[in-house]
Symmetry: C2
Subunit: 398 residues, 2 copies
């Protein structure tokens, strides 16, 4: 019986994780949950899965839960300390890290230090602080298993292979909803347009990141930290059908790939059970029904976020932190219709440039947590200013 704590249980990955867990009651129990504002859903999850401990970020939501509780009542806590209490709960064997964006960094680091196995759905954590996270995991002997279809695919392809015989990783990319939209139309893309992803149903932030292809850029940096290859040996290929989830090319030219239907329950199941696999009854890939798989090179000019991510990955230290934070701010501003779709990469690029000037002036950036948090705080403020300037442009006011 594996005891699971979920950081972010009411998000897309959290909900699907509980779906997998519910199907295998003889294999998993839930010992902890955290959420933010969706208290009704959280209350239903509490009644169904009976965790020992529950945390929410804000005290007012904890209060709401206390009022609605009827019968079963777990320990209830709030704030960052509450999240950490769930992440480090002594009963937990495995922690699913599915809080959005930078909010997940500290609780996940604490779970790693507590030697939990981490099923990592939050790629921003590795973008922001990959060196620190991997170093902490190595020191604690904590395993990190990616809940991301691409990295799960690579993890499977690398099983039984020698990492020094790997030539490169090839991340597949659906191309997002704007693959076939002309670049000239990008300025008029609305949040609703960008939230309609052709293949995956996901949270709002990652859906926008998938539309700008920043999500794929993040995945390059994520793969760099998870598998230890430099970013210039991690390539992207556009594959609209999202059947091949990613590939590994070996030194002899042989390419290993993992295929499947696009269903996040598969990487969730993989991370929950590795090195075992569950015999699941979900829809399977029937290649006889899939008439064709196609491939094309990515367009770096049309999707500047992709280039920004490679550049940040190559620059290293706190540049990817700033990339991630600036993206978080810019995407939120776009979702609020305060800036346009094409402004996202511009604002991120400007923030990175300013950060690099800061680093030139005071080259004290390191992989330490204080450096990372400082870069995050700086970028958040700088970027918010850029958004405010940008959104005074009447074109962008909703």
């Amino acid at each position: 019986m594996k005891r699971v704590a979920i950081l972010g249980s009411t998000g897309s990955i959290g909900v699907q994780s509980l779906e997998v867990i519910a199907q295998f009651p003889d294999r998993f129990t839930v010992c902890g949950l955290t959420a933010n504002s969706q208290t009704e859903m959280l209350q239903r999850q509490i009644e169904r899965f009976r965790p020992d401990i529950v945390a929410v970020m804000e005290e007012r939501y904890a209060e709401k839960l206390r009022q609605t509780r009827n019968g079963y009542g777990p320990a209830l806590c709030a704030g960052l300390d509450g999240l950490i209490a769930v992440a480090t709960h002594p009963e937990a064997d495995l922690v699913i890290s599915a809080l959005p964006g930078s909010a997940g960094l500290i609780p996940t680091l604490r779970a790693i230090q507590a030697e939990k196995t981490i099923a990592l759905a939050n790629k921003e954590i590795l973008v922001m602080a990959g060196e620190l996270v991997m170093r902490t995991a190595a020191a604690a002997g904590a395993q990190i298993l990616p809940i991301d279809s691409e990295h799960c695919a690579i993890h499977q392809c690398l099983a039984g292979q020698r990492i020094e015989q790997v030539e490169r990783l090839i991340l597949t990319c659906s191309g997002g909803p704007f693959r076939d939209v002309d670049r000239s139309a990008f300025a008029s893309i609305s949040p609703a347009d960008a939230l309609a992803h052709p293949v995956w149903e996901m949270g709002r932030k990652v859906t926008i990141d998938s539309a700008t292809l920043m999500n794929k850029g993040f995945e390059v940096i994520e793969a760099h930290w998870l598998f230890g290859l430099p970013v210039d040996r991690i390539d992207i290929v556009i594959h609209p059908q999202s059947i091949i989830h990613s590939m590994v090319e070996m030194v002899d030219g042989s390419i290993l790939a993992q295929l499947g239907v696009p269903d996040m329950r598969l990487p969730i199941q993989y991370a929950l059970t590795f090195p075992e696999r569950l015999n699941v009854s979900w829809q399977r890939l029937d290649l006889m029904q899939r008439r064709e798989l196609t491939f094309a090179p990515p367009d770096f000019d049309k999707f500047p976020c992709l280039r920004l991510a490679y550049q940040a990955g190559q620059a290293g230290v706190t540049v990817p932190t700033v990339l991630s934070t600036a993206d978080e701010v810019a995407v939120e501003a776009f979702l609020q219709a305060r800036i346009g779709f094409s402004d996202i990469p511009d604002i991120i690029a400007e923030t990175i440039t300013a950060h690099e000037h800061r680093m030139d002036d005071a080259p004290n950036g390191t992989f330490s947590l204080p450096s990372i948090l400082e870069a995050d705080v700086w970028a958040r403020a700088f970027c918010a200013d850029l958004v405010n300037t940008s959104s005074t442009n009447p074109l962008h006011v909703s």
Copy 2:
């Protein structure tokens, strides 16, 4: 330095193996070669690779080699004992088994008993005597590595996976030269038509087997023995581009695949160096250039050899032996234009039916070598009679 003996050095696989070996003189030496009638090519190979021992099947060819030798002279021997002497040469670490058809069975078994690593290019050996070969290999602790793009792909996909978590194997099949030819035109297919394979350049026997899809049927039985799954969990998918070389579906629905350019040097290299891989400069798969990969179900009615192979694989014992022998005789008769293309499956089916009647009358078939050799001798004679009867039909006389 790995010392390699090659059984069948002048055939397609033998020649390509020497090409790989020649590229890595610091890794491999050749200690033994065998061939049949192509003495001039063999002589050039002897001068180039300087083996300790060389064998040919017929004494007259050994004599020819003795006459043409100038300078370097290895030990020369002839007949089955000669082949066995090469196969069991004390210096050899690895034996490439690339003799065509049933001729390779006994030398390969002897190499296995001598605890050599076997790079197996001859699939008929596993079709004829899979249980015996695998049991002998297990007893001797000899590793068998397939030189066949499909089985090499599966071997790579299974690395690091647990065999009990495998749901099924999926062999890809180009569909052969007659994939899009109407069945009604099959009777008029000439040997020249059938020898023009769209993807792979191979020996004559395997090229005809690829046209009837018997080759794929053999591969199902081969995979059954190599990887231990029953034939009904080994499926075939038509994939005309021959880029995905085969796949493994796990119990959780995840499919692992191996991709690459169609180049037999890759599986040869893999078998020669496993678990290492060579950093080769050969043409690589560029998926950006490959606009599409397509898949379709196989047509068992159009290609009856496929169904015959599954049936023989399920029947077991000496039925696959008879399948292989009857195919050898029928294909040779077709190449001599003594029978038509559509007669191949008919003759094999008739031979199998007669063999099954014999087994009903005297159910003494076992997996022992005498049983296998007896079934082979019987099938060869029975099938030759069928060919003679068939070829008195004036339609089939060339």
